[in-house]
């Protein structure tokens, strides 16, 4: 069923009785060419691109709960490609370009809103680092704009320019950055994949891998054994747990990241704003809530909830740069489990087990990567070679010493 304004009108006139399920609810088949483990944004996008771009026919996505129940359903909805390192920037720029055409591509309005993202600059060394990054972005074909405090004051007069503990000295804009309605990304990819024949199987938890002589032949699930030509794991915060079923240890720790939304407010913030001297970033959703977040709680956790010190720290950062939000009320907080890697960058790679592939380590940057992650993973699954923008996301990079450490924090996952 094609979605359009006309369709909405017609359905409205006939009592909205004609709308069909956005995805089917099929029983799992005994065998698929590709089984994707994890019905989050990345898994669904992988299925979609495998079917659409790489002509694969017989694909299943297995989800232990409901699709989109992981980080694609609990994040701060930001998209951007403001990275520094050659291993990252082309990939994220590829992702941003996919976002730009996504809705027309999968015929679902995910509300991709290129409202801009701003990183505030508070010191000279920070400006130097942002200039280096901005140049890297431009050299990779992305957009970037370095502005001074005077221009910022004209654009965002509500920031604290006069009394801030860490004065605002400028900022790095990426005007093409912005936000996307996060749940709709999962639903749009699910709808697109489903319409291309992909079986999306909810409430189907993978409990083991059938590994035979170093070859992965499929998965065991709560809904029976499923054979697979290729098994593609894509489970974010559950990466370590799931890959342990295949006997693998990963350079990943699972951490909780909290995010927050306020009560609805009339339009206030034009884009995404990131505090450069504290832990705070914020945007305003189409519904009017200020959606914001900050640092991860900092300890290994699978609990999908965090604690007060980080809540306070984030709100302190918010008040430090925009004291107008003091009377906005925090409505809801939530926690997602982040697959924090040892250098802050992800993996899209084959494993040492034939037929078993791994995608993970997205830290808290997975949402914006969704399209490219799906596309590049599909590329790897279909062709057994990495996509040109994802050649460095290898599992053996630490052994080789090829670090992709944007923040320069070293093997300390909670600092990335």
């Amino acid at each position: 069923m094609r979605y359009s304004a006309m369709r909405v009108l017609l359905e409205g006139l006939t009592g909205n009785r004609g709308w069909k399920p956005v995805w089917r609810d099929p029983e799992p088949k005994p065998q698929y060419d590709v089984v994707i483990v994890g019905g989050g944004g990345h898994g669904l996008a992988t299925a979609y691109y495998l079917a659409k771009q790489f002509g694969q026919q017989n694909i299943a996505v297995l989800e232990k709960g409901w699709i989109g129940s992981g980080n694609v359903g609990r994040n701060t909805t930001i998209i951007r490609s403001n990275y520094l390192l050659p291993g990252n920037e082309p990939f994220y720029e590829f992702s941003l370009k996919l976002w730009e055409g996504l809705e027309q591509d999968f015929n679902y309005n995910a509300m991709v809103s290129q409202r801009s993202i701003l990183n505030l600059i508070h010191s000279d060394p920070q400006r130097d680092a942002f200039a280096r990054r901005a140049n890297a972005m431009l050299l990779a074909g992305a957009d970037a704009e370095l502005v001074d405090a005077a221009q910022l004051r004209r654009e965002l007069p509500f920031l604290d320019f006069d009394n801030a503990r860490f004065p605002i000295r400028g900022g790095l804009f990426q005007r093409r950055g912005g936000t996307v309605r996060h749940d709709a990304v999962a639903w749009g990819y699910a709808r697109g994949a489903d319409s291309l024949g992909v079986d999306i199987i909810q409430n189907c938890e993978v409990t083991g891998f059938n590994i035979d002589n170093g070859i992965c032949r499929g998965v065991e699930t709560t809904r029976g054994n499923i054979r697979a030509g290729k098994t593609a794991v894509c489970v974010a915060g559950s990466s370590s747990r799931v890959m342990a079923l295949a006997g693998m240890r990963l350079p990943i720790e699972s951490h909780v990241l909290q995010a927050f939304v306020t009560e609805g407010l009339k339009p206030l913030l034009p884009g995404v704003i990131t505090f450069g001297a504290g832990h705070f970033y914020v945007s305003q959703s189409d519904k009017g809530g200020l959606v914001f977040g900050g640092d991860i709680d900092g300890y290994n956790s699978y609990a999908q909830r965090g604690n007060l010190p980080v809540v306070e720290d984030v709100c302190e950062g918010g008040m430090a740069i925009m004291p107008m939000i003091g009377r906005a009320r925090l409505l809801r907080s939530w926690g997602g489990i982040m697959d924090m890697s040892m250098d802050g960058s992800p993996f899209i790679d084959k494993t040492h087990i034939d037929g078993l592939y791994f995608n993970g380590g997205w830290c808290y940057g997975g949402f914006k990567a969704t399209p490219a992650s799906g596309y590049c993973y599909a590329h790897l699954l279909a062709k057994d070679t990495p996509h040109p923008t994802a050649t460095e996301y290898r599992l053996d990079r630490f052994a080789r010493g090829h670090l992709i450490d944007e923040k320069g924090q070293g093997a300390q996952p909670n600092l990335h």
Binding site: R241, S254, Y299, N300, S301, Y302, A303, N307, M342, N414
Partner: protein, 95 residues
């Protein structure tokens, strides 16, 4: 969270800094023939279980002791707190 410090009693976890898997105590021997591989595993492949996890916390806003805390990563329940120095010695570390 509250960490029941073996010497000081219960303290808010906000006084502490988290490092990670307590296996970071087990730093390999630099002269081991497989030192490169062992250091790689030591630094990069850490335990990340759902359930009980032995992990290092540093009481930075306190007595500056490093602790080994056994904590459930699903419930956050803390099962055991030890001084890391004691643990290190028990694991054969000395000079």
């Amino acid at each position: 969270m509250i960490i029941n410090h073996p010497l000081l009693g219960p303290r808010d976890a906000a006084e502490f800094v988290y490092l990670g898997d307590a296996s970071l105590i087990d730093r390999p021997d630099w002269q081991d023939p497989l030192a490169a591989e062992k250091f790689h595993d030591y630094l990069y492949l850490r335990d990340n279980p759902v359930g009980n996890h032995r992990e290092l916390w540093y009481h930075e806003q306190g007595d500056r002791s490093w602790l080994v805390v056994t904590r459930n990563t699903l419930t956050h329940e803390i099962i055991k707190v030890e001084l890391a120095t004691d643990v290190a010695r028990k694991r054969g570390r000395s000079r």
